[in-house]
Symmetry: D2
Subunit: 388 residues, 4 copies
Amino acid sequence: MTKRIPRDKHNDHSEAMAAERRQFASETTGVKFEHLSHYAFTPELTAGNIENFIGVAQVPVGLAGPLLVNGEHAKGEFYVPMATSEGTLVASYNRGMRLLHQAGGATVSVVDDAMQRAPVFIFDNARAARDFGEWIKANFEQIKQQAETTTSVGKLRDIEQYAAARMRYLRFNFTTGDAAGQNMVGKATQAACEWMQSKYQGSCRYMLSGSMDTDKKHSQLNTLHTRGKRVIAEAIIPNAIIEQVMGVSSATLFKARFISQVGSFMAGSVNTGAHSANGITATFIATGQDAANVAESSSGIVYVDLHDNGDYYFSITLPSLIVATHGGGTGLPTQQECLSLLGCNGPGKVYKLAEIIAATVLAGELSLMSAVLAGDWVSSHDALGRNR
Amino acid sequence: MTKRIPRDKHNDHSEAMAAERRQFASETTGVKFEHLSHYAFTPELTAGNIENFIGVAQVPVGLAGPLLVNGEHAKGEFYVPMATSEGTLVASYNRGMRLLHQAGGATVSVVDDAMQRAPVFIFDNARAARDFGEWIKANFEQIKQQAETTTSVGKLRDIEQYAAARMRYLRFNFTTGDAAGQNMVGKATQAACEWMQSKYQGSCRYMLSGSMDTDKKHSQLNTLHTRGKRVIAEAIIPNAIIEQVMGVSSATLFKARFISQVGSFMAGSVNTGAHSANGITATFIATGQDAANVAESSSGIVYVDLHDNGDYYFSITLPSLIVATHGGGTGLPTQQECLSLLGCNGPGKVYKLAEIIAATVLAGELSLMSAVLAGDWVSSHDALGRNR
Amino acid sequence: MTKRIPRDKHNDHSEAMAAERRQFASETTGVKFEHLSHYAFTPELTAGNIENFIGVAQVPVGLAGPLLVNGEHAKGEFYVPMATSEGTLVASYNRGMRLLHQAGGATVSVVDDAMQRAPVFIFDNARAARDFGEWIKANFEQIKQQAETTTSVGKLRDIEQYAAARMRYLRFNFTTGDAAGQNMVGKATQAACEWMQSKYQGSCRYMLSGSMDTDKKHSQLNTLHTRGKRVIAEAIIPNAIIEQVMGVSSATLFKARFISQVGSFMAGSVNTGAHSANGITATFIATGQDAANVAESSSGIVYVDLHDNGDYYFSITLPSLIVATHGGGTGLPTQQECLSLLGCNGPGKVYKLAEIIAATVLAGELSLMSAVLAGDWVSSHDALGRNR
Amino acid sequence: MTKRIPRDKHNDHSEAMAAERRQFASETTGVKFEHLSHYAFTPELTAGNIENFIGVAQVPVGLAGPLLVNGEHAKGEFYVPMATSEGTLVASYNRGMRLLHQAGGATVSVVDDAMQRAPVFIFDNARAARDFGEWIKANFEQIKQQAETTTSVGKLRDIEQYAAARMRYLRFNFTTGDAAGQNMVGKATQAACEWMQSKYQGSCRYMLSGSMDTDKKHSQLNTLHTRGKRVIAEAIIPNAIIEQVMGVSSATLFKARFISQVGSFMAGSVNTGAHSANGITATFIATGQDAANVAESSSGIVYVDLHDNGDYYFSITLPSLIVATHGGGTGLPTQQECLSLLGCNGPGKVYKLAEIIAATVLAGELSLMSAVLAGDWVSSHDALGRNR
């Protein structure tokens, strides 16, 4: 007979039940749990975060910094907790932060903010779908009102429309306060859709997701229209610093960039930078973000310029960085400590956190660029600079 | 004066140094660490996994299962540890596993295996680059030999070539044993490139990465040519089960899928499934994988078919699932326990782990599909089925 | 000494000059022109269409039809002139038109209409770029007024904004009457940009194209937000007709479609249909469209559904069909005859033409689908239907 | 009663039948044909090129040149016939050719050559599909032999394999001599597939196209793996020429390029150049190419570099240029004249033609770049160069 974990007790977060589940797993698999069960809090704390709780994964945290941030919300020096088990990652980001510090820090700006649910309405033909699109525009205020009945925080900003066949694909864009907001906008959109279906004169069916959200996966649409926060981190690095740290000139770096761009383009890569996922994932795990959102958050756009005086302008745009300071794992014990370390606990800090993470990503890009050109990654024969 | 963490002690993993760093951070930020410092092992264990160690992030782990897997390496029932702080995730996967169990389990196959480093060689013009491409083909065996001098595990399988302008972009494909292998293939490729540069008669410069790897980011190239393991999980679900569990017919499900596909296509989404990132991330964190690889691993291809008898064939192809049972975080205490729970500790288990994760992903797709159609996500007015 | 065509006489469209150029070319290359010079009009007619005129390319035109169209602008039967030199193309479209006729014709709708010029403004940093974006929203009416000073036809509909680094990428969307309008919107946008630059308080530079137009090339952005006309052609084909014509059931067709979709997705194809470029190109050349716009116009989205009664719903969405009935080559002699053949000469007919072309494309998709399944293209052993 | 063109006479290319069809069309639509019917050859010549022949579209042809080409097949100066009705196009290409001439001409190389048919085989599950893939590798020589039984020209080069679900997607790559070869490879692939199906022990069904060809549509796969010819055109332009012609420095051009790249990336554009479709389409129509292949041929990759001495290296890679000097419309009267003008009539000239077209495209890119920067397209306030 198949053994099972008691099914009706998924949400029993007592220590007794946790122990019973571990006991069950040990008997079934022969594994002894000495570490998983070593948590520093009562399991009840995880209610709302997990079902069938059996313990905790312990992920090492290293501290990188100081990271100098010139944000609109994050200002000054920060020490960034990074949860990872990949050796050299923290050291590498630390090196980038030092370089960034020398260059006067990272200027960071949140330029857009939207969380989506994207329902699709289905009609008899394309014309009927088009008419519905017009009706939505005419009734936006009421739709917004309906959506916002379900939430005190979420605000419906606008509804994008996309047409194909006899469908009308919509993309409801909300602001969601300190929360990432996926569930919040799901409920609000469903309320709106129910109302729309009941009020619209024409025949009208819908699915709550027509796959244009695009939740837990990257899309070109996210790159264009933002998912979560759109954050841009910029720095201007004097050539002298670049030469000293990397042993090559900013002009050489600049030219090498084009070779990378062509590779990116041919590969159909969703990120023209190096490894933003590393910095994002490590700060996400440390601060209680939903690490599955790395799927979306890891896209990026690098733009560089060479000023006449040799200064190197380096920027990375994160078009779909999904962060929260409230909800999800942000309230858990170690996660709260890490948020506090960044001064991002409590209300109204989500843009600050977004700025710090984007600055961290920028540091990581500079660091890896430096490593590549300084010979760790590249031919000792001056791979790029020779007579170009 | 800017305070700093002692820079020359990044790799001091003693408890004393960890405490000193926490002390520093507390003084700088005012945060007290009561949980981060609560780890169940000596910090020395994290050498090679982290720098500037200050403690551990504790991520709740829930147990889902039994997951019935009909793999070539994983056979039978498994209880899957999932590390997440997103409520309902474990319950949802659990529900999918139940449905999958009823349907006879998931058939899973690893169909390809390759880890890359993708250097680019630069020439005076396109013809010279093309000639070099021919030289590589003629000298593959020697290049392979050079690459493999640096590793006892990694094997160079083949070298893809891509041409643009005066560059030759290469993609070295290795198998890497039980390791994910990013560092292994980096070293091996560099050794090969140095040899190639020294032996090739023509003028020849290179960068170790031309951005076609594409490390820590999704690309179409990964979808086409695999990064890590290419794993396919399949199930055939009788219509009776679908109707019972979801309240709709397999035919309705099948038709709804097309509406999703169009949304995916317009959005330029990199995954035609629902949320593989959720299952991947949760098992990655639990088992010590590099969670930053969710960037690549989260792409997916869903293919479904409706059999004449009403059975629903459902499959998901993960073209770039990056997993390891050796190296990185896999040796850490809680991570080892979770690997053991799956019978994936010790050598020769990486395909088994890949199969289990892919089966888990399949369960999650089925579960969400079920939720969407059963009304949690969708209009109660039979969103799809009405007169179709 | 290098021989040259008289450079200052590019725009001399006299017969004498045409003859002189041919003479020059004959002397230079030894080629005798007997056909190129055989045009049915005075060369002066081509002023505004060509420089260095030497003659005409003669492309065979075949007639396909009747095409039964249920449009909002095109209603009834049409005979479609198709200019091509690819054998079987006209016959194939003709076969599709017959099938479509049997099924009651194609329902076609123009659901969107926009031609773009996409300038980019450059600032000192991302924040300044974001502020400029707000200024644009606040000053849209004046910007619109400035843009429209340059044209009596073009109307500025809206301005999309995209943010990256310290740039603000804009996409000016115009309606352009009967013209395709690329030049019209270029002039209008430049006028607007000059005004914006002069009025905006901040430092502000721009390029008239930031490559988001995307003129003469396909982009995901076009698929999402339309370039030219967004036209949807739909048909509902009874199963009996499908079985009679193709020898397979609509259910088999429907299932086969999924296999194609997966191939399309892996390939990163910009069109999930079969060969819309064929019908578009042939009608474009015949009716004096700019055939280079096939680059953009050839993308498409196929969506199909299987109704409960076995009817097959088939649709193709052309998101970026660029057509005109005024300007460019539409006024040339054979081109005018072909437009007249479709009742699309004279003002106010551009939507009608768009509908006819989309219906033609739909016929071509049905025809090729039929060919594939009926065995011209596929195994005689019932490639798809066996026991699925 | 619906009037019809006599259906069983599609392939009657007599003048009498052409006249009858025109008569029919005139009666049906009221249009008089004075120009369409003005062809310089007997209609019988179009047998194999068209069905239901009614006349010819006359597209103006202008002559651009001299184009200086340093190819492996095309060497020296060429006068390029361009068929278009878009005013300024010929003049613009002409200007680019002059600039290119001053810079010593275009170096052009064909670096790859392949035409595809991409069948898909379907199995019971993913493992069976994988096994079939191994069988293909083991039996490649026999498959090749079978494929080549159908053609004296086409040679099967290799078979790419792509795995998803229980399918094996194949991509048969052929060289096709002087022909574009789509039909040739279709027949050859079908013969191979029939043989494969008959010989393979396992259960095995197939469709001749699994949509990975990707015929008549752009795909990332084409960009990666070539369709038709992969041609690279390069030039090195001294800064002095750039400054003289465009009024800006090569350094300014170089920097501006990055802004375009970011726009391209965000848009998801399939071409990082400006307007290759223009040059390709105009030469395609003139020389009897299948203009529908502009869909594929219009993608491109621009790569530029700034040499230390200020020289500007400019290149465009056309990854999927589909050209022929035999078959299709290449044998028609005006088309033969245009091929002769380029010395590309007769056998063994297809690479020469590919080189000339790619050089033409390069000229067009330079010309438009020049126009943009010299103020036709851009702010008079030195849009890019100010203090960068």
